[in-house]
């Protein structure tokens, strides 16, 4: 019997467990998933929860129900990985040895890493994050009674998971406040360490003009040094100041603490991997999937899905002693909510930035790339169903793992 251990039973861990059981005979392979709890959270729903669109229970399912029966689930906190010993240390459980290890413990917001941010006098009172269920729920309650002032939407440092989520939050806040007749009493500022609204030129321009249309001020190149809890001000490394009454921040995102010192990780506890195969750069029998890896792609459910597909096919070759022939291209496919029942869609990879055009079929769509449409908004809402029923269960979705240029309008720069 060979043993595969998957750390993390979130989006990536669940998908890869479901895919692996299809390819590997159960009399030769034992698959174990370890997660700290049994609640699987649909994270994309955290964006809409603060605006009263979902209730917490709409976003929670039991992890166990999404894993195949023959897969063992250990509910325990991972304390350490010892790659030289092929073993992981768990809390309240004996150590587990593996032949192959898949790290899928994701990334999480760390407000404690920015001085002043989680100061008890302001945290969850005038400073909120929406990347956790507690944070999104507290923010919902605050927004319900907020009477206006300076709203600042802030990104601490890249990379963050779902890099479009804070922009979407700003768009949705604008629409929400307008609906409540409060928009005149509110100024909205979007503060980012990036040079513009988003990372790549074409999307940055489009999303930047959407900020302008909504009278949302942009404060780019802002690398935060600290939050001053007394004056409620963000202070940058080059001493710029942005005052707020209500701060919605995406704190520094970091990989799991147990990776620190494992010899597998970078400065933010992401596992260093080959960006085509997701294989650790230091240990051949260790892989990282989803947000936990350092691949230069968006940290998104779609990326986890596409890369898990490539990984599984490669893995079947690898265990037969063959080389891994397929290389992941960084394909990401993300809906962007823009408020008032509309949305955008972006589809891109390591080499190709998000472009305009039609998706998935050239000329037909039905979805439009980098353009606000009602169809894209409906796509985003449908994504919740697709997530629980197709993505997690490793069933096929009608989008290929590798990106296609079909339907995209190339830029004319060379």
């Amino acid at each position: 019997m060979k043993q595969i251990v998957i750390l993390g039973g979130g989006t990536a861990g669940t998908m890869v467990a479901n895919r692996l059981v299809k390819f590997l005979p159960s009399d030769q392979w034992r698959i174990t998933v370890v997660d700290q709890n049994n609640e699987h959270l649909y994270q994309p729903g955290l964006l809409l929860l603060p605006f009263g669109k979902y209730k917490p229970k709409d976003l929670m399912r039991e992890r166990r129900d999404f894993l195949p029966k023959q897969v063992e689930l250990i509910l325990s906190n991972v304390l350490a990985v010892e790659p030289a010993l092929n073993r992981v240390q768990l809390s309240g459980h004996e150590p587990v040895a593996y032949d192959y290890l898949i790290i899928a413990t994701g990334t999480s917001p760390r407000p404690d890493q920015t001085p002043g941010m989680d100061d008890p006098s302001i945290w969850r009172n005038s400073v909120f994050d929406f990347y956790t269920l507690d944070g999104a729920t507290a923010l919902r309650d605050r927004l319900a009674t907020w009477s206006g002032g300076r709203l600042v939407v802030h990104v601490t440092e890249m990379p963050i998971k779902c890099p479009v989520a804070p922009l979407e939050f700003a768009f949705l806040a604008d629409a929400f406040l307008e609906e409540r007749g409060l928009r005149d009493q509110v100024s909205i500022t979007y503060v980012t360490p990036l040079e513009g609204a988003f990372t790549k030129p074409v999307a940055s321009k489009q999303l930047g003009s959407m900020l302008e249309e909504r009278s949302i001020a942009l404060e780019p190149d802002f690398v935060i040094e600290r939050v001053d809890p007394e004056t409620k001000t963000l202070i940058s490394m080059d001493e710029r100041e942005v005052p707020f009454d209500l701060l919605v921040t995406v704190p520094l995102n970091m990989g799991a603490d147990f990776l620190a010192g494992s010899g597998l990780e970078d400065e933010l506890n992401y596992v260093k991997v080959d960006k085509g195969t997701m294989q650790s750069r230091s240990f051949d029998n260790v892989f990282a999937l989803g947000d936990a890896s350092d691949i230069p792609a968006s940290k998104a459910g779609s990326v986890a899905h596409f890369s898990a597909e490539i990984f599984t096919e490669n893995f079947v070759d690898l265990v037969q002693g063959k080389p891994m022939p397929r290389a992941f291209d960084g394909h990401a496919n993300c809906f962007i909510e823009s408020g008032k029942g509309k949305g955008l869609l972006i589809d891109f990879n390591y080499e190709t930035e998000p472009l305009t055009g039609k998706f998935p079929w050239a000329g037909i769509g039905p979805l439009s790339l980098l353009k606000e449409t009602r169809a894209n908004h409906l796509g985003k809402l449908a994504f919740r169903w697709i997530y629980w029923h197709l993505l997690l269960r490793g069933r096929p979705i009608p989008i290929p793992a590798l990106m296609s240029m079909s339907g995209k309008n190339p830029t004319t720069t060379n």
Partner: protein, 104 residues
């Protein structure tokens, strides 16, 4: 990729003027690139640039400001003093390396 002449040498650059070939860089080229973006190179600047060059050789990618702080030992705050406003981009530019990732 365009080829341009810097400090009497032909070098390959991308649309934004970043050198694309690691080995085409030299200290003389760095001085010209620094001048172009109004940076006066001091010993402290060279410490950062040399760290970036060495780190790229082993890592295959440009160090982020965080990495220059934790591995290179130069605080982010100081990087902002040395390379005002856009340290990550300016350091990589002068060191003849690609723009650092993290921007996806």
């Amino acid at each position: 990729m365009p080829v341009i002449e810097i400090a009497g040498k032909q070098v390959h650059v991308n649309e934004e003027g970043f050198l694309t070939e690691y080995d085409e860089w030299s200290e003389d080229i760095a001085k010209v690139l620094a001048q172009q973006i109004d940076v006066d190179l001091t010993d402290e600047h060279w410490k950062v640039i040399n760290f970036l060059r060495d780190d790229y050789k082993t890592e295959g990618e440009s160090a982020t400001t965080r990495r220059v702080q934790t591995v290179g030992g130069i605080p982010v705050k100081q990087q902002f003093v040395l390379f005002p406003k856009k340290p990550a981009k300016k350091m990589a530019y002068i060191a003849g390396l690609p723009k650092p990732k993290g921007c996806v």
